[in-house]
Amino acid sequence: MWRYFVPAAVFLALGGVFAFTLMRIDSGKLDVREIQSPLIGKPAPAFSLPSVLEPSRLVDSRSLAGKSYAFNVWGTWCGGCREEHAALIAISRTSGVPIIGLDWKDERPQAQAWLAQLGNPYTEVISDAEGRTAIDWGVYGAPETFLVSPAGIIVEKFIGPLTEAVWQQKFAPHIKAGVAQ
């Protein structure tokens, strides 16, 4: 009896675990591709990159010290970035924190055209044509959005197209709590 029951029970238990996990993926509760960033709780990586709109001007991360800011990685080649753009504009009007845009591995004329056409939600947009700053920030797929506290610590990261609902749920509480004021 046992020799039939035990394998069947193991099989059913495994099947149950697989079905449960697949259902969580299906309903969007679990994203198996998402990687927890080791940078959360760590100082935001420094950068010094040219502005997309005024290429001769360098924007240095030291100029942002003492303030909270959102750091949004995008590119004109990125479909999810187009998807989130309207939400970024809405957030830039209501959230009270500046949004810094990192234009990742992109062509400057195309980025400028994108901002002229779709609107510019960014306080500063900087060009990372070589992708070095993106590597420092552990970016692996745009769009990605970080929240940096006034102390210069990364307190939140979201991967994928940002929405106002996600902002309210994941980012706004940090700002309210004063961690990122």
Partner: protein, 140 residues
């Protein structure tokens, strides 16, 4: 027969044409060896089941450049791996380090081996105690 040989040769040619790094990163064989070893050990995070050496994604190319520059700058393999895990976490390594989170992953093969050996030993002892022939239950 000849047709099959031709097909096999074409397949092999296609495989080599698919190689991503067409030029060696280093003239020095030892440095090139380290470069190949490291890029094959790092996971491409955009295309998650490929290595950085295998992938032609933009990020993989950037990470190959990063590895090449760090080797040229005299960094050790550990320095380069730490650079990557500081930014991307252990997931970037195909050979994850032993930690509280990965202990089950590392222990599982040993545990399974012990369990299987235990089960096998039990079976052998049981059969050797029965003095005749095959397991009656098995042949039933």
């Amino acid at each position: 027969m000849n047709r099959w040989i031709a097909a096999a040769v074409l397949c092999l040619a296609a495989v080599s044409a698919g190689a991503i790094d067409t030029e060696a990163a280093f003239q020095d064989a030892a440095l090139q060896g380290r470069y190949e070893h490291l890029t094959n050990e790092l996971r491409c995070l955009v295309c998650q089941n490929q290595t950085v050496a295998d992938s032609n994604a933009g990020l993989a190319a950037d990470l190959r450049r990063q590895v090449k520059e760090m080797i040229a700058a005299g960094k050790t393999d550990d320095d380069i791996k730490r650079f990557m895990t500081d930014r991307y976490g252990d997931f970037v390594l195909y050979d994850p380090p032993l930690s509280a989170r990965t202990v089950l992953l590392w222990a599982a093969p040993v545990l399974l081996l012990i369990l299987t050996l235990g089960a096998a030993a039990r079976q052998i002892i049981r059969r050797s105690k029965a003095d005749i022939g095959p397991d009656p239950e098995e042949s039933a």
